[in-house]
Symmetry: C2
């Protein structure tokens, strides 16, 4: 029975190639995501080990290193000076967007592999410099949707033609940031650290990149509307935003995003013969619903959550490094998102569509 | 317990004023919608009666009139000549868009009230002429969402602030038209009869008008993308389309629509403190989901379907005529949709945002 086989493989890995070796990680930037998600994910992931934690102060780094049985805790400055460089093979960058570049550049000079959170930089030029600097080391943008097993199954089903020809995508990603982190001075609301803005950069990027991954197409034009009305959002244009992307074959994407709205994550791809809906999708649990003609099929998997996604991401990255196979979301791939983010912000500012370079 | 009272009133009428009298209807255009939905709705609705059926031929009109115990069956020509004019008080127009105007104009000359299907005309100028011609008779655009009880409850909840400040709307309305009506020569695919196009005119209008009704705001700018690739859609630009509308207060609407895609109807309004989702919404059953903070509330009502919506629409229209109260979706209201439809099509053609007059 083919469905039985399919269900048993739902959370399977279609990329695993390495059979031995371990990649030792230095984790840079010890915010809640790194501590609560990256550290446990590396503990669970095969062929991965955390050997160094890097933070603004040696004291903080060593304290958290002690708490998690990590051998080394060093400061940002010490990292740039090459401290403990023989104890790690790769870095994971979880700092504010504008600070990624310096760490990636140092890592490349030290010939370390780089796994960098998205968006990979605060603006396109910074991203391009970083990708260029990392040209000779393995570089992966941390799009964990691309290693989520349900999302990978969705992509296979789309390749099989389960919705016919794709027509349009509707995606949304919103959260009440100031309820989650009640600090109006946080970096996501600071353009110097976040980049072009906050909602599209931090949340809309999930819509954009996951749609690219699922459609296997890149956007060619962007339109957008943005609004910021409250004092906490005075430094960024997009307290909330809507955007449209045009892809080849007449496919459109409409997206909505906000750092100041009721929580929601959803991506729906409608085609000539069906529809694939991921709801929720971007922050942990992924539920896939397929509508085809009069039939509806829903797929969920208890083991697939935010921790599993990060585990898969680290395991995949380590697998690529150990096997030497090409990395899926590489620097060039991430640059398309940076160009798209730039175009969306320019389109909102100019009030007209902007071609994506 | 307030919730008990609220639930008991879910399908209630907040507009009923007339206590006596009957409005006699002539139904014009005997397609499946008129026969399967309008005739039964009038039978069920208080203070409504069908006395005349009007079709392309006397024979067809009389045959269907006999089948439904309607006293008169007349031709379009006879209608324009004033036949049976003393046996009806109002007309319902269910013909192709481009043909609405002539019937409305004759009705106005005969001093009859007019209930006209949406969009009210094939283009803005035709709509403006029609509204002008009907200036001295009661005129209502047949936006049945506005008389659906669940949609009316949704509007009240939004007025109460259940989602805080509205930020953006995402709406979709799609169907596989050629599977539903397997005729490539049908009027909805013929620009001379349908107007600017097919998907936005016939389906997107639900997204646009329902959002206007719920937000109590009108759009001020439109952007859009359209594609037609198959032979059956050669005469219209929008086999599928996406569009964005800008409203005051920075509110955006993103819409997707297609006459050649997997069926879907959905409207979601996201706000600073909650989200109101109607899914499904546009073609019969309406299910309302309210997300506010961590709580989700779902409201559905077995008696509210496409027939009930049409019953409510006719009952409301008759109530307004008999009481002389103002009509909610009147000609001026419908003209805003026509201007919006025109702007969406112009925006798609020009590839840039278009202000809505």
């Amino acid at each position: 029975m083919p469905l039985t086989n399919w269900i048993d493989r739902v959370d399977g890995r279609d990329w695993e190639t390495a059979s031995e070796g371990t990649v030792r990680f230095a984790l840079i930037g010890l915010g809640w995501w790194t501590v609560d998600f990256a550290i446990p994910a590396i503990e669970r992931a095969e062929r991965c080990e955390t050997t160094v934690l890097v933070s603004s102060s040696t004291e903080k780094a060593q304290r958290i290193a002690n708490e998690h049985d990590v051998p080394h805790g060093i400061s940002y400055d010490a990292f740039h000076d090459g401290a403990a460089a023989d104890t790690y093979d790769a870095i994971y960058i979880g700092t504010p967007n504008a600070r990624h570049e310096a760490f990636a550049t140092t890592a490349a000079e030290l010939e370390k592999a780089v796994l960098c959170e998205k968006p990979i930089a605060a603006d396109y030029d910074g991203a391009a410099r970083m990708v260029d600097a990392c040209a000779d080391v393995p570089f992966m943008a941390a799009y964990r949707m691309q290693t989520d097993p349900i999302v990978r199954r969705a992509r296979e089903l789309l390749q099989d033609g389960i919705i016919g020809e794709p027509r349009y995508v509707a995606g949304t990603n919103a959260q009440p940031l100031l309820e989650m982190i009640p600090d109006p001075d946080q970096w996501r609301l600071n353009a110097a650290l976040s980049g072009y803005g906050t909602s599209v950069m931090d949340l809309g990027i999930y819509v954009i990149n996951t749609a690219r991954f699922l459609l296997e197409r890149d956007p060619i034009e962007a339109s957008a509307r943005m609004a910021s009305i409250d004092e906490a959002f005075a430094d960024v244009p997009d307290q909330w935003a809507s955007f449209t992307l045009g892809f080849e074959d007449g496919i459109s994407l409409v997206g909505t995003t906000s750092q100041d709205a009721q929580y929601e994550t959803r991506l729906a791809i409608t085609g000539s013969a069906g529809r694939l809906v991921l709801d929720p999708v971007f922050h942990g649990e992924v539920v896939m619903r397929i509508e085809r003609g009069d039939a509806t099929t829903t797929v969920e998997h208890d083991a697939v959550d935010g921790h599993r996604e990060m585990e898969e991401e680290f395991a995949y990255f380590a697998d690529r490094i150990l096997s030497g196979e090409p990395i899926g979301p590489d620097g060039e791939h991430a640059l398309v998102d940076m160009a798209t983010l730039a175009a969306i912000h320019e389109a909102a500012e100019r009030g007209e569509p902007v071609r994506i370079a």
